[in-house]
């Protein structure tokens, strides 16, 4: 191509009569493609999902069986017959981790989903419902939010007793307050967009506006929070079991396993009984957050690389 100097009149070659109506390519559609860390996250989560579903069939022993019935010694080190050693009550740690996987993931997932369902529906509902309803809902939510989670948890569990459904409901309700706050804030931001107004002007109902106009746009920031929330739920239930109110023995869940085996560290016997469940929690949650981060990396901070 020639180099037009300023005095020169440059005209690109053209064919007379060809209309310039050809449309440009649309910008490439940016679907999510996991990066390396994303793939690691997906692999680990898949691994745990398999364990959670098939744990009881894969486990070498029953949840409460003793690998060494004649040894009156807890916290046996890893050895043939008990690859991760035994726990505080002489049970096989590997088996308990496998049994606990389903319960831990199940409870936290169920509770987080409950928290999200409630929090999102009510939060966006409050954002959509006008200032009065919003005021009332927000104040009630604030009230619950201002009370310590552990206090609410204690009172509920003390009142109804501890069972897995109660745990799920309690954690779900408690964290619904946080989600409510978040969802409402996000909802408020989307509410002022013209497309929401356009839907209203069309005469659409509230439910339609929430589900079709707002939710698809609120989804992403909420998912980003989901990963962290899941961890908090796992921690919350394990805090409850620290107080003796979580998943009840002899059932295994990772949080209470860390707790009930803490003695192994404390009494200087073995590190595995604590490390194994703690690492299980850590790998799962880190993996989930790696995925979440990877997905959300598509969004923010794109200018940082240009600084």
């Amino acid at each position: 191509m020639s180099n037009p100097s300023n005095t020169e009149h440059f005209v690109a070659p053209f064919e007379e009569g060809v209309a310039f109506e050809e449309l440009q390519d649309a910008p490439p559609r940016t679907g999510y493609r996991p990066s390396l860390t994303g793939w690691i996250g997906i692999a680990v989560v898949t691994f745990w999902a398999v364990i959670a579903l098939a744990g009881p069939w894969l486990a070498p022993y029953g949840e409460n069986a003793l690998p060494f019935p004649d040894a009156y010694e807890e916290f046996q080190v890893p050895q043939a017959g008990a690859p991760l050693g035994t726990d505080v009550a002489d049970r096989d740690i590997l088996s308990r981790i496998m049994y606990g996987a389903g319960r831990t993931i199940g409870i936290s997932l169920a509770a987080t989903l409950l928290a999200y369902t409630l929090g999102v529906v009510l939060g966006i509902g409050a954002a959509v419902s006008g200032p009065k309803v919003d005021m009332v809902m927000s104040r009630i939510n604030d009230a619950f939010l201002s009370l310590p989670t552990i206090m609410l948890g204690l009172v509920v569990v003390a009142a109804i007793g501890s069972s897995i459904p109660v745990l799920i409901a309690t954690a779900g309700l408690i964290y619904a307050t946080v989600v409510f706050r978040l969802a409402r804030a996000i909802g408020m931001e989307i509410m002022v967009m013209d497309f929401v107004e356009a839907a209203k002007a069309r005469g659409e109902g509230r439910w339609w506006i929430i589900t079709r106009e707002i939710w698809p746009n609120a989804r992403m920031p909420l998912i980003t929070d989901f990963g962290l929330r899941l961890i908090y739920v796992i921690l919350f239930t394990s805090s409850l079991s620290f107080l003796g109110l979580g998943v009840q023995p002899p059932q295994a869940d990772w949080g209470s396993m860390v707790r009930e085996n803490l003695g192994a560290l404390q009494y200087g016997q073995s590190i595995v009984p604590v490390l194994a469940p703690a690492l299980s929690i850590a790998t799962l949650t880190v993996a989930i957050n790696l995925i979440v981060d990877d997905v959300s990396a598509h969004g923010g901070g794109r200018l940082s690389g240009r600084m």
Binding site: N64, E74, V88, A89, S162, G244, Q248, P250, L262, Q266
Partner: protein, 488 residues
Amino acid sequence: ARAAAETPKVGGRLIMAGDQHGPNDTLDPILATSAVDYFRMRMFYGSLTRLTDTLGYEPELAEEIMSNDDATEWTFKIRKGVEFHDGKTLTADDVIYTMNRHMGADSVSKSASLVSMVKEWVKVNDYEVKAVLDSPNADLPIALGTFHFKILKDGTTDFSTAIGTGPYKVKEFKPGVRTIGARYENFWTEGGYLDELEHYGIGDSVSRLNAFLAGDVDAMVNLPPKAIKQVEAAEGKEIWALVSGAYVNIAPRLDMNPSGNMHMWKAMQQLQDRQRLVKGVLKGQGTLGNDQPINKAYFDYCEDIPQRELDPDKAKWHWDKSGVGSTAVPVVCSEVAPGAVEQCLFMQREGKKIGANFDVKKVTTDGYWGAVWLKEPIAVSSWNMRPTANIHMTLAFKSDAAWNETRWSNEKFDQTLLAVRGVTDPAKRKQMYCDLQTMIHEENGMSIPMHRNYVDAAANYVKGRTFVPLNNFGGAESPVTLWRDDSA
């Protein structure tokens, strides 16, 4: 008594770590509920009598104790020259005031039942009081040596501090946190050697152990059995273990279903993995239970009853007879004492092997005594030791006892229990107590798989421990005698 070899030194400071503290910590003796309270009471107050290591009694604030022949009238001569922390001298009025707080139907005293046979406390003169009883009670002075009968100053209603006759004065009292006592210079007798005695509550046993091992506290109650090895290995730390009659048990209600099924509860008794509970859970700091409440810590223990063992075959035989089959049998458990939950879990595990399906429901400790205990068909329970076998069996096994956990009713047992109170012939008495214990062992239905020791730990410079087996820290009697040996 046993530690008297060394002469106590005066001075220094000790921090004793207790457990179970809370905002309901109190300085009111009649409301004391926990070992922490008992220890505190002993720091600040004195009582008429003091229990001995063998669970007899010896005089304390009462110089002389006399009764009539049928033990229906007791006279207490009060020691002269004993001063309260505010300088007031102890007189009969103080004793009468104290005792009257345990009297009457509306008394909130936790030990009102121990003195319920007392009709009246009478002031004979300034230094003598008399208890007039409805029925004979040879053990009254022993009862008065227990935790709740600490002597208050006449008219005390404010319990934000404690004005007692004990070896220490209140320096600081924060419910749920700690109590600090400063030496009371005018303590009437030997004891109260420390400049300051602090009792610090650390509810969590792991933290308590950490604090102890790190030297942040000098002694701790309720050493977790699993930590025993570690403390034994640690330098300069000692274990204070005390064999006692305290036990944990599983109580089937005989008047309910399916717990009333004899073959079922017999199977349950055969399913108890007693060895594992004692060796594994208590790490040897306990004794095998034999499905009856009295063990060798009691004077009246009967050695002749054969020990029941884990026996799956017998258990299966009973289970099959019971006809319960694989129906789920709910068992309500709570962490009311070490081993309380394990006994359920072990039973559940062993039961599975013979086809029994125990559905263990673990509930929280708080609210357990109000909401669950004595109400569920099968539930666990835990008992402290009482000064005498008779007191304990009267409380927990007599047909009309409020706390008769299985609702077992046996006329012969009740009669023997009453009759034995008046028996003085040792052989006869022994025989009768053996009968009583055998009856429970065979018929009551209770599974008592183990008795637990009181296991505390202290640094080796902590001296002056006591051995009264009714509670931790030597029956909470140690505040008087504790001293610090910095040469150790």
